[in-house]
Amino acid sequence: MLRGQLTLRAGDFLLDSGEFEIETTGVTALFGRSGSGKSLLLRAMAGLDPQTRGHLHFGTERWQDGRWRLPASCRDIGFVFQDAALFPHLDVRGNLDYARRRAPGVTVASMVAIAEEVGIAHRLDQDVGSLSGGERQRVAIARALVSRPRLLFMDEPLSALDWGAKAELLGLIETLAASTGVPILYITHAPLEVERLATRVVFMAEGRIERVETLRDALARPDSPLFDEEGPVSVFEGELGAPGDFGLLPFNTPGARLWLVGTPGRKPGAARLRILARDVALALDAPGRASILNQLAVTVEHIEPESGGRVTVVCRLGDGQRLLAQITAWSAHTLALAPGMAAFALIKSVALVD
Amino acid sequence: MLVTLHVRLLAWIALFLTALPVSALASGEVVTAAVAANFTKTIEEIGARFTEETGHTIRFSSGPSGKLYAQIRNGAPFDLFFSADTEKPELLAAEGRADTPFVYARGRLALYSPDLPVREGWQQVLEEAGFRHLAIANPRTAPYGAAALEVLTSLGALERVEPKFVQGESIAHAFQFVATGNAALGFVALSQLVDPAGPVFGKGEFWLVPEDLHSPIDQAAVVLERGRASPAALAFMDYMRSPRAREIIERYGYSIP
């Protein structure tokens, strides 16, 4: 749990977080437009800037109190910078060793194990200058993990990478977050990264924390900042099953079963499913024979005011998960939709988040 | 219209350009003299009088004699050379670069101290040698230094005070050591003590060393190759022997042989 209130001035920009309380389990995304103060907040939380003021507690530990600041070197944290920030005078092994020698009780063997897990074991004796962008970021992640952090900060670690490396690293971070159990504070301005990794989102704008909420809640708001030009999105967490007839993949969430097609090579297991609200239609009667695969019984919870001839309808599944549907205002009127009504959601298209 | 304007402008420029050297020449010739640094102030006063009386302009380039000598040998454009010793003018004369030297001033050596009673008690002060440093000019390069060495030898005090020597590269430098309090006392030039504008004027006390205790500190001047053809240069050399010039030289603490 990170609890506090921090201010930090950088040139003309003022970070003034306001009081906050952030649960630190799993991955917490710090989301906001560039210039919203995400990086500054992360630096302030990590204790990297001596100009930081305010107060901050990590659990019961005091990290910042007015001008007093527990140095970053004493906070048992890890930090992965946008540009990796590898030491150019050391090779890959030297970079990892730098962390190992300063972390209590970390053996060379466990260091090498981390290098293997992160996928840079074969690069240990190379100069950091010879690494690709993706490899550099892997070394930075491995270095941070070697120091056995209690909290890992990541400042847009993927933003400088090309599409392929980005996808690979996103998978790696997801795996590491689960396997190491180290809580992560992750800065990004890409909604897809949030939907893929985060359990919790900290929204920032103009140097303030606007709100902290779970990903599920964040996505249940039709005006969520996570939604871009594609409009509102619903994300389901569940289990992907083994492929069946006609290449159909079952996706099981506690409240429903959905079917996917056309994602060859995807292994069964935990996954997230993404549904655009504009791909969801509503019917009051159970549709008879129709080509649409995924039909779910829902309850209308709430209807957003009209905008541009359309309305967004927030529906609830049996298990409480929310599904957003975007329909024309005219349809909503003719169907006389109202909160509490039972309906059927017809989903034209679903996709795995990756 | 435009053309006449240009013509008029050109005429003005031409007039301005021709007027410059004319006005400089109108008052006489320009002479350049190389002067040993210690004598600069004295000769500038003489030069000002000379200009007043004759209309000739005289410019002084001052520096350590050794440096000036090296410059002259390497073609520096000087008409006259006023050295701080006699050796360098004689060398120039022997090399055919200058006429016969003449001694224009004789330096007076003084033992000066801001604190010690050297006027009456110089003998005791030198005998006891209770001070930390005694400043002299470098005897190898400066005539005042060589003279100081001779004085100490003839007084039989050299052995005792030699370990206390600090050497200035010139007499001006040795004087600085004493004037700033870094050396307790020093052999300096009388001219440095009697200058009313000097830093120690009226402070401390000095013993004027009798001239028979050391060989004369003669300063000689020569007319250089370049000055032979200049009536103004020759005129200034004559002026240096005039009673008016002698009066100034003596007032600045030199004697005249």
Partner: protein, 231 residues
């Protein structure tokens, strides 16, 4: 005393010069490093003033600096009196100590500026990264700053040393030309020139020229070999 090309050269000034230069260089590195670090990192507006003061010896005629030292370090001056309080008995001017003090001030910019530039070009991120890996302030300095500023240190040391060897004005003013104590090479050369002993002056000058050339070549060679690659 050695005979070289028909000139008898005293080795004493050479030995003394090397000693002064070595001591000066060590002191300058110890003193210049924190100063350069502060200058490179501080955000105070006093920075420009301090920078200007450090750079003063570059523009000030050395004899001016020497003259002020003569006044500041004189036996009745505050500095000497202050040291007397700690049992100091000697005199600062006309001594090895005085020469070193003068040289340190005179060569200060030659040590501080290369270090400052090295520190300035150092990425702040690397220090942040080190801090999050549990490296404290001093640890960061020695494990990140020093190895990444090798060039700067090498340049600072060489320039300080070479500049001290070649210095003249300051030692002329505060030295007093005492054989074996304060007569450095440059003064010896000046003496030879002034007393028209040109052969000795030539030999000594040539020795200094060759020495300086060798040192600088060595340093540039080392710099090239151990230059830090920043990828």
């Amino acid at each position: 005393m050695i005979e070289l090309f028909g000139a008898s050269i005293s080795l004493e000034p050479i030995w003394l010069t090397l000693q002064v230069a070595a001591v000066t260089t060590v002191i300058l590195l110890l003193l210049g490093t924190p100063l350069a670090w502060w200058l490179a990192r501080t955000r105070t507006r006093w920075r420009v003033v301090i920078e200007a003061i450090v750079a003063l010896p570059l523009v000030l005629p050395p004899t001016v600096l020497g003259f002020y030292l003569l006044i500041v370090l004189n036996p009745n001056g505050a500095v000497t009196q202050f040291l007397r309080g700690f049992g100091f008995e000697g005199q600062l001017t006309f001594s090895f100590t005085g020469l070193v003090i003068g040289s340190v001030l005179y060569s200060l910019p030659f040590a501080v500026q290369p270090l400052m530039h090295a520190f300035e070009s150092l990425s702040e991120r690397l220090l942040d990264a080190a801090a999050t890996l549990r490296a404290g302030t001093l640890d960061r300095f020695f494990s990140v700053v020093v190895p990444l500023s090798r060039r700067g240190f090498l340049t600072a040391a060489t320039l300080s040393f070479a500049h001290t060897v070649g210095e003249f004005g300051v030692v002329l003013m505060v030295g007093g030309n005492i054989p074996g104590q304060t007569r450095m090479v440059s003064i010896a050369i000046f003496d030879h020139v002034e007393s028209l002993a040109y052969t000795e002056a030539h030999v000594l000058s040539a020795m200094m020229l060759v020495f300086s050339l060798v040192v600088l070549t060595l340093v540039y060679g080392l710099n090239r070999r151990f230059g830090v690659k920043v990828g």
